[in-house]
Structures are given as C-alpha cells and as structure tokens.
Amino acid sequence: MEHQIEVLRAEALEVIGAVTDAATLDAARVRFLGKSGAVTALSEGMRHVAKEDRPRFGKLLNDLRQSVTSALEVQEIRLLEEADASAAASLDLSLPGTFAATGTLHPLTQLMDRAVKCFRRMGFSIADGPDIETEWHCFDALNTPPDHPARNEQDTFYLPDGRLLRSHTSTVQIRVMENTPPPVRIIAPGAAYRRDEVDATHLSQFTQMEGLYVAENVSLADPKGTLEFFFRELFGPDTDLQFRPHFFPFTEPSYEIDIRTGALGDRWMELAGCGMVDPAVFEAICDRRGDRVYDPETVTGFAFGFGLDRLAMNLAKIPDIRMLVENDLRFLRQF
C-alpha cells in the first residue's frame, strides 16, 4: 500500500507537471481526484488494511491527496497567468482610442477664471454691473469732465435715450459703492465697448477685469502688493513689474503697470492701470448715496483694471484679435 501510494504520487505529479492547457488540466483532475479517479480508488483499498495500520495509511493518503490538489492549483494559476499575459500581448495597442470628444473653454474664459481664482484667494468677491450704463456712472461719477474726449460720439456708443455702452468696467466701482457701504473689496470681469474700427488689434467690444478695495487706511502699498502678487501668480515668480506714474481721472496717484515675463516674450508690456481712488469719486458717491460713509477723510481705496483680450493674445501668441470672436473650432479646440 505504501509503495502504491508513492507510485501514484510520482505518476500524478508527472502528469500534472506536463499539463499544457485547461483541458489536460481538467483531465488530470478527473483522472486522479475524480469520483472514479486513482486517488479515490486507492482510498477504497483502506478497507483491506489492518485496523492498527489505518491511521498511518490514512495520513499517507491524505498527504497524497493534498500534494495532488496543490500541484493542480499551481498549474491552474500558471495557466491563468499565461492566458492573462497572452490576452494583453495580443492587443494592438497602437490602435487609436475611441471616446466622444469633449469641448473646450474659450481662451478668454480660461484666462478670466485664472484671474478670478487668484483674486478670490486674496479675499475679493465678484461684483457686476450693466453693459448699458448712464453717463453719470460711466463718466461723471468717475471724475471725467463733461467735455472729456472719451465722452464724444466718435469714441463711445450711445443709445437714443442718452445712455451708453460702458467704455470701461470702472462703472462697476460706482455701482458697488452706490449700493454697498465700505469696506468693499471686489473684482468685476466684464465687457466694455469702444467705437473703434475692427482690425487685427481692435474690437469694438472687449473684456476687462476691474478691481476696487475701499476701507479705512488703504494705502498705495495695497495696490502695489496686491497687483505684484496677482501678476506673479499669473505669470510666475520671476515676473518683473514696473509701476509707471500715469493719469486717470478717477485715481490719484495713478500708475500704469508694465510687465516683463518669459510667458510674454521677455519684453516690457503695458498691461494694467491702477491708482488710489480720487477723492472726487468718493464725493460723487456721497452725493448720490446721501450719506458720508464714503467720506474721503474716513476711507481710502485703490482701483485697478486691465484688458483680458490682449493678454490672452500675448500668452497664446494669437496674431489677430478677431480670432477671439470668429469661433473657428480649429482655433477653439487648441485651448
């Protein structure tokens, strides 16, 4: 019996070791462990074994069954692994992928959103105002004299009722202060209009980002720190900024901001205007509100603005501003 067991073990391990596929594996399993398999048949022989020998032969038989079972398992795993490997190997992975195409956000929107996210990190919230504005909001309240050239019909679109299409988003500064007591800290992305002939560098409608911070003790150090941080967030820490004294009717002191950065080709570009809110603007707001919460002796503030179109053009090397509104999918899908 003992000999028989060892012979069968040797035979079984040899047969199982030679298994090549699922079919021969199954055949081996049936041959040795099946209902009428060899191991089963040998177990039947236990009936003829002397009683005192039964535990020892029982153990031997059990060992035999276990070693056959584990040999079968080893082969089964090997076959499965081989099949998995060949399944992956048979794929032509150079075939193109197939999935429904997604769309893209307009490059101006992407830029605007980056700017918005950055200002929100700095604690600004968004404000809004209408595109169709009154002369008061667009000019008078912003300390622009009645005979200022920007107000004439050559440069600004008017409606028959005397209202106009805002020529800058600075109108939102006025809207906000009219309706909200200080402190205010806002940005306003939006459209503005100028009566320009459309060509490669001009559109009659363009996109601006406006900002305003009014509170007690706001100083010139605030716009400097805020805009340095912003433009370095936008273009990288190596960005150089230059605040160049300038003139705007609604801020004093006023600056234009020139920027030089690798993303814009390492040359100085005039990108933004900023300054401390002119006391005359606060006085206009006080008159309109009928209170003194914006008394320039109590609060100070800064404002800034910049155009997004030219910035987007320079960042993506877009040669013609009209491409931003032609909506050619071959253009849009690049962003």
Binding site: G103, G123, R195, P245
Partner: protein
C-alpha cells in the same frame, strides 16, 4: 508731442544717452512713444569733392575717382555708384572711420586698384532707410569739413502727454522735469521782464472766459523767410516754416508752451474786443473757410468783425502777410472748456487750441510775449514797443495746505518732514508756511495742482514707487450674488465642455436682421456700421453665424455654446445657449452606424445637463422662428428655456446638410429653479420588478400621452416608466402602416417589502386595461 534733445539742452545741460533719458521720462510719468536719433556723428567722415572719375581697369561696374578731401592732396577712391558727376560734393569716409554696423574703413585694393577710403550713400551713414547711389551734398558744403556739420545730430522723443500735465507741452516743461530727476540746474532763458501798462481802450475784455490778455506792438518788421537755425528747429519737430514772424510765434509755443498770435496791425480797425460771438456771426479763418459762430464761442474782434477764434485760429484777412510791417502780438489766457468746445465742434484743432484747452501757464503770458518780441526783432527787424499792454486780472497763486500725516498714511512710508518738503520744492512749489504740516504755493506752470491729494501724488512721483512697500493684507469680502452667478455659469460651462460643446464668444452688437427673431432690440444711436447697429436679443444668431462659418470651413460636426448677456427694453439678462449640427460622434475604426444630431439628442443632452426628466419638456404647438419644432424646458415648474430644431428654411439658409438643433436657457430663472443640495433620498432596501408592455397605437398618438395615461392611474407601486423601443412599418408587413409599436418598461417597487409576482402582474394588468380604456390601444403579447 515731439521734443528735440538739442532744444532741451538750451535749458538743461543733460548729457545722458537717449536710452537713459527715455527711462527717466518713463519714471517721471512721461510716456515715450518713440525715439529717433538723427544726424551723422562720425569721426573721419568729411565733405569731399569729386575731381576726376575714370573706368576701373578690371571691373565694368566700378570707377576710380580722384577726390579732394580738403587736405590739399587728392585721394584715389574706387566707387561703384553711378549717380554723381565730376564736381559733386559727397561724404567721404577716411581710413579709420567706423560706419554703422561696426563697418571699419581702411585703405585697401578693390579689384587690383587701391582705394583710400569710401564715398558714402545716405543709407551707409544711416541718414535714410534706403538710398540709391552716393549722397550728393549741397554745392556750398565746405570741402574737408566734418559731415556732422551738414547733418547735426539730435534725438527726437515722441512723447504722449497725459491731460494732467500741460506743462510738459513745451521744451521748457520737459527740461524742467529732467532737472527735477537729475538734479541738474535749469537754465531759464534770459527773458527780460517787460514793462506792463494797462491797455486802456485798446483792449476790451467783454467776456469772463478771457481772464488775461496782453498785446504788444512791433513796428517796421520785414516779413520773409526764417533764418536757417529757426527753420531747422521747427522742421526737426515736424513743423513747416511759414515766415519769420509766424515761425517765431510757433517757436515760442514749443519752447515755452504759450500760444501766441500775430495780427497785422494795419488790418485791425479800432480796438480789440474779447467777446462772445453773436448768434450767426461769420468768421473766416486762415484756412480760408467760413465758420458760423454763436454765443458759445469766444472771439477776438476789432471794431468791425472777428479777427480770431480765441485760442483756436486767427482770421484770414488779419494775419501776417508778406506786406505786413507793423504787428500786434497777442499773448493771453482763454478758458480751457471754451477753447475745447470751439475746437471740437468746428473740427479746428491747432497746436494753440491743444494747449489752451489743457490750460497754459498764466505766469508765462507776458514773458512769452517778451521772448517772441525779442526773437521777431532779431529775425525780422523792427522795433518793439517798450510797453506791453495788459487787460484783465493777474493770476493769483493757489495755496494748498498739506497734512504730513496724511502723506505718510496714504503712501505707507514714514517720510520725514524734510523729505516731504524737498520733494515739493524740487518740483518748483514754494512753501509758504511750515512746521509739522505745511502750506504750498503753486507756480503757474503747475496750475492744475489744487488739492492736497495732488501734492501727495507729486511726492509719490518724486520719491519713486520703489519706496512704497508691498502690502498683502485686507478685508475678507463675503461672497455675493454675482459670485453665485459666476460659479453657476462656470459650472455650466464645464458641464457643456464635458458634453463635447466648445465655448464661443460672439459680439453683443448685431445687425437688424440678427436681432429680428426675439422681439424688439435696443438700438444704437451712433453705430459703427449697419451690421453692428443693435444689441443682441438672443445668443442664437451669433452662434448660428459661428456654426455656419465652421460648416463653410468643412467641419463635419459643430457643437458650440456661449454664456453671455442679451438686451431688451426691459433690461439685461444672462443666457446660456447651445447649438449643434452634423455627426453625433466622430468616425472611428470600429465602424458601426453613425447618426447626425437631431432634436432628441439635444433633448437628451439637455436632460443630462440640467438634470431633467421627460415631464420637464413641453412641446410648443407654434414654435417661434427660427425654430421649426420646439419644446419649452421647465425645472421644478419654472420655465428655464427653450430647445428645438431649426426651421428647415433657416437650416437651408445656413447651407446645413443636417438638422441644426439649439437650446437657450435663462440663467437667472434656472438658478432660481435650482434646488440646492437637499437631503438625499433613501436608497431602496428591497428589489424592484420590471414588466415590459408593447402597445400598438395609431401613428398620431404621442408617447407623452401614453406616459401621462400611465401616470394618471396613480398606481402606488409604479416607480418609473421608460420607452425602450419604437417601431413602425410603412410597408405594412409586420404592423399595419398606420400603427406604431411602443415598447415600454414599467418598474414597480415597494419601500418596505419584496413584491410578489401576483401583485406585480395584477398592477400591470390594471395599467394595461386603463390604457386600453383611455387611449383605445392594443397590446402585443
């Protein structure tokens, strides 16, 4: 305005190179639009005269010349040009000269013949962009003299001057700024303060818009061409010389910033009156045109007629002409807004009006008159009256108090009193009283300074932005309604992008035709052209134009959306609009059948985009143009938009080969309909059961009616109804041609137990019976 560096050096001895001067200007707030270096400053380039010219023995295109370089010994020069003749004077670069491009001249052989230098073209001396042949010099050029004498060097700065700095509209003003930022002394021109006397009856100011007027008589002038130095200076800044008297007035304008006018004294009848024009009064300006004036115009008139439109332009028949011998020289101050209005409404813009409308230096009026008189006598002869006649009132200087604490807090810099005071005295202000705070008297050339904040700006400019710290702190602003709207629209944009739509941006300004579909459009009073004369009433026309452009470019499929504003008499609203046409999916190597976008694809897309179900779409029986078929879209019972397929005629107009589908949403209504993150619905604990039923219905019966008829039976166990097959057979083989088969899946569930087969079947049977009764439909088993 153009300024000449040579001219600036009359006032300040500035030897900075052009690039550093440009940086100084920018730091001061003077924008430099361009810098132009002129002249020929070369060592060893001299005037030479061609003495002989002979053919080069070894080269057809070259000649060998003998030239006189002033040394007494003729030089041999090989030359390739053809445009000269013997006797001409030309620039000659001697050995050792270095021309632009680091081109070193030396003696050498050209095709075997020695050349002791090079005769130059204008291009080689960088005097012109392009040049054919040698630069031929005037016959009176002195042989052997440096070429720089013929072409003196200068640097011309084109400056863009902001309206707050009228003092920069003159060479003196710009030189003053150089002096402030370099510390170099300003050499004010030696102008004798003239003796002044009341004009009496000779000048009568009859309008408040002329605060001050002066007049000086110069007798016995001889009008003629200006001397070269005067003409050259005017030409260098882009002016055309006229005659010596007029040129002097222009010269003084650009030198000191004060516009002057010279009348021919013989043509002035009686006294000069500065008065408002009479209604309908005609003025013939020196451009030869007649202008009809009114009471809003200020004129200088003699006893008979206007002789100048004050500050803007002189009259045709009272100005200086070749026969003039006595002149009356006007130097005055006119109200800026009056000059501006006259100049704008009449379209008469002059160097004079440009300065008056920004405000001239009231302290310069008499000095400028004196300077001009001096120059006129110098270049045109004659004798100036000793006395300058004046009328009106002298300008009183403004006194501005300054709180030093305010300076420090607004600039965030701990400036000392001394620094503050040095900054202001540096720009020419005079401290009239001091202590901790100070009071400042403003000279005429900075008359626009009137408030404390104006002084603080000057201090910030003087100390430089580098002194200002960078602060990164501030009030944390709470989020606003526009913040919520921004986030909503941005989330919508991202969702649409995920669905394959690309974002477009179209113009707010549209044509009459494009604005016609959605009610009356707001109109512009002064549009730039007819195609931009209205404000859009919908984003759809712009998107359809973009769609057509892409189709014309051969795009097989177009999916676009836009988020933007629309306009009507009622106000402005935000819209989200999408359009699609062409292939639903791109072709790929798996093959399979492909379809074009149709209204059901868009309805499905919108259902996903807006989280809607079947019942939120309500067909519109009479769809508005440009739609041929359309549905209204509701969310939580609020109408949020419309979706549809374009009328076939509109699609044909756009040359579309397939359906064009579009949806437009009212962003505001949609936001109102949005139920913000409510509590979750519990997940079902027990399995549901599904039964499929197949109806045979008349072709005209809408699925919506079937669905409604199922739901109307209010079966409590019915969880959902969905259509999974629609079949018609026009040939009538498997189904009568006037029937359709609708296969509907019904899902049943109870919240607290597993349903039995019996109750599910019974419910299904009741529903079928109900459908049969309500709609008269049959069922396929």
């Amino acid at each position: 305005m153009k300024v000449s560096l040579n001219w600036l050096r009359d006032f300040v001895d500035c030897q900075l190179p052009a690039s550093e001067l440009e940086a100084l200007f920018r730091r001061a707030g003077l924008e430099v639009a361009s810098v132009e270096e002129r002249g020929a400053a070369f060592d060893k380039v001299v005037v030479a005269q061609v003495l002989e010219s002979a053919q080069h023995p070894n080269a057809d295109r070259l000649s060998v010349c003998k030239v006189d370089d002033g040394s007494g010994t003729p030089r041999q020069i090989v030359c390739g040009a053809k445009n000269y003749k013997v006797g001409d004077k030309v620039p000659l670069a001697l050995p050792g000269a270095v021309l632009p491009g680091d081109f070193k001249i030396k003696t050498g052989k050209l095709r075997g013949v020695e050349s002791e230098g090079m005769m130059c073209s204008a291009k080689e001396l960088k005097l012109a962009e392009d040049a054919d042949g040698l630069l031929i010099l005037p016959a009176d050029a002195v042989v052997g003299s440096p070429i720089a004498d013929q072409f003196p060097t200068d640097v011309l700065f084109e400056l863009e001057i902001t309206p707050n700095r009228p003092d920069w509209l003159s060479h003196l003003g710009v030189a003053r700024e150089i002096s402030v930022f370099t510390g170099l002394p300003l050499a004010t021109p030696g102008i004798p303060a003239p003796a002044m006397a009341p004009a009496g009856p000779a000048v009568s100011i009859e309008a408040d818009e002329c605060p001050y007027y002066t007049l000086r008589r110069i007798r016995g002038v001889k009008v003629g061409p200006s001397p070269q130095w005067l003409a050259d200076r005017l030409i260098s800044i882009g002016l055309r010389p006229v005659n010596n008297v007029v040129d002097v007035t222009n010269y003084v304008l650009f030198e000191l910033g004060q516009p002057l006018h010279a009348f021919d004294a013989a043509k002035i009848e009686g006294a000069l009156h500065i008065r408002r024009a009479a209604e309908g009064e005609i003025f013939r300006a020196l451009d030869g045109k007649d202008y009809t004036l009114g009471e809003d115009y200020l004129v200088v008139a003699d006893d008979r007629r206007p002789v100048a439109l004050a500050g803007v332009m002189g009259g045709e028949d009272s100005g200086v002409s070749a026969t003039t011998t006595d002149i009356l020289l006007e130097s005055a101050v006119f109200e800026p807004s009056f000059v501006r209005r006259a100049s704008r409404t009449l379209g008469l813009i002059s160097d004079s009006s440009y300065r008056f409308e920004r405000g001239v230096d009231p302290e310069m009026v008499a000095s400028a008159s004196a300077r001009a008189a001096e120059l006129i006598v110098q270049v045109a002869g004659g004798v100036a009256d000793e006395i300058v006649l004046e009328a009106g009132t002298h300008w009183a200087r403004t006194e501005i108090p300054l709180r030093h604490a305010r300076v420090r807090s607004l600039l965030s810099v701990e400036l000392s009193d001394q620094e503050i005071e040095e900054a202001l005295s540096g720009i020419g202000l005079e401290k009239s009283c001091g202590g901790g705070d100070s009071t400042w008297s403003v000279p005429g050339f900075r008359h626009e300074l009137s408030r404390e904040v104006d002084l603080i700006e000057e201090i910030s400019r003087a100390i430089g932005i580098e002194r200002i710290p960078s602060l990164t702190a501030g009030f944390f602003s709470p989020s606003s309604e526009p913040d919520a709207a921004y986030d909503f629209v941005m989330a919508s944009r991202h969702a649409l992008v995920g669905m394959g739509f690309s974002e477009a941006r179209t113009s707010t300004l549209v044509s009459v035709a494009e604005a016609a579909w959605f009610g009356p459009a707001v109109e512009l009073k002064n549009p730039f052209g007819d195609d931009q004369s209205r404000l859009r009433t919908s984003l759809l026309p712009g998107l359809l134009a973009a769609l057509k452009r892409n189709l014309d470019l051969g795009a097989p499929s177009v999916r676009l959306f836009e988020c933007g504003r629309i306009f009507s008499a009622a106000g402005e609203e935000s819209r989200i609009t999408m359009v699609a046409t062409g292939a639903l999916s791109a072709s790929d190597w798996r093959g399979g059948t492909r379809r074009n976008w149709d209204i059901f694809d868009l309805k499905g897309a919108v259902a996903e985009f807006a989280d809607l179900s079947d019942g939120d779409f309500v067909p519109l029986p009479n769809p508005p143009l440009p739609f041929g078929a359309a549905l209204e879209v509701f969310k939580n019972g609020i109408r949020i938009g419309i979706l549809g397929t374009l009328h076939p005629a509109e699609a044909r107009r756009l040359d579309a080969a397939a359906d064009i589908v579009s949806a437009e949403f009212h962003t505001g209504a949609w936001m109102r309909a949005w139920d913000a993150a409510g509590a979750m619905k519990p997940l079902p604990k027990f399995p549901g059961s599904t039964r499929d039923i197949a109806l045979i219905a008349p072709l005209g019966l809408a699925y919506g009616d079937v669905r409604a008829a199922v739901l109307a039976q209010n079966e409590p166990l019915l969880e959902s109804v969905s259509l999974f097959d629609l079949f018609t057979d026009p040939a009538g083989k498997n189904l009568p041609a006037d029937r359709k088969s609708l296969a509907i899946s019904l899902t049943f569930r109870a919240g607290e137990r597993t349903l039995t087969t019996e109750e599910v079947n019974a419910t299904t049977d009741r529903l079928k019976a109900g459908l049969k009764e309500r709609l008269g439909v049959d069922f396929r088993e």
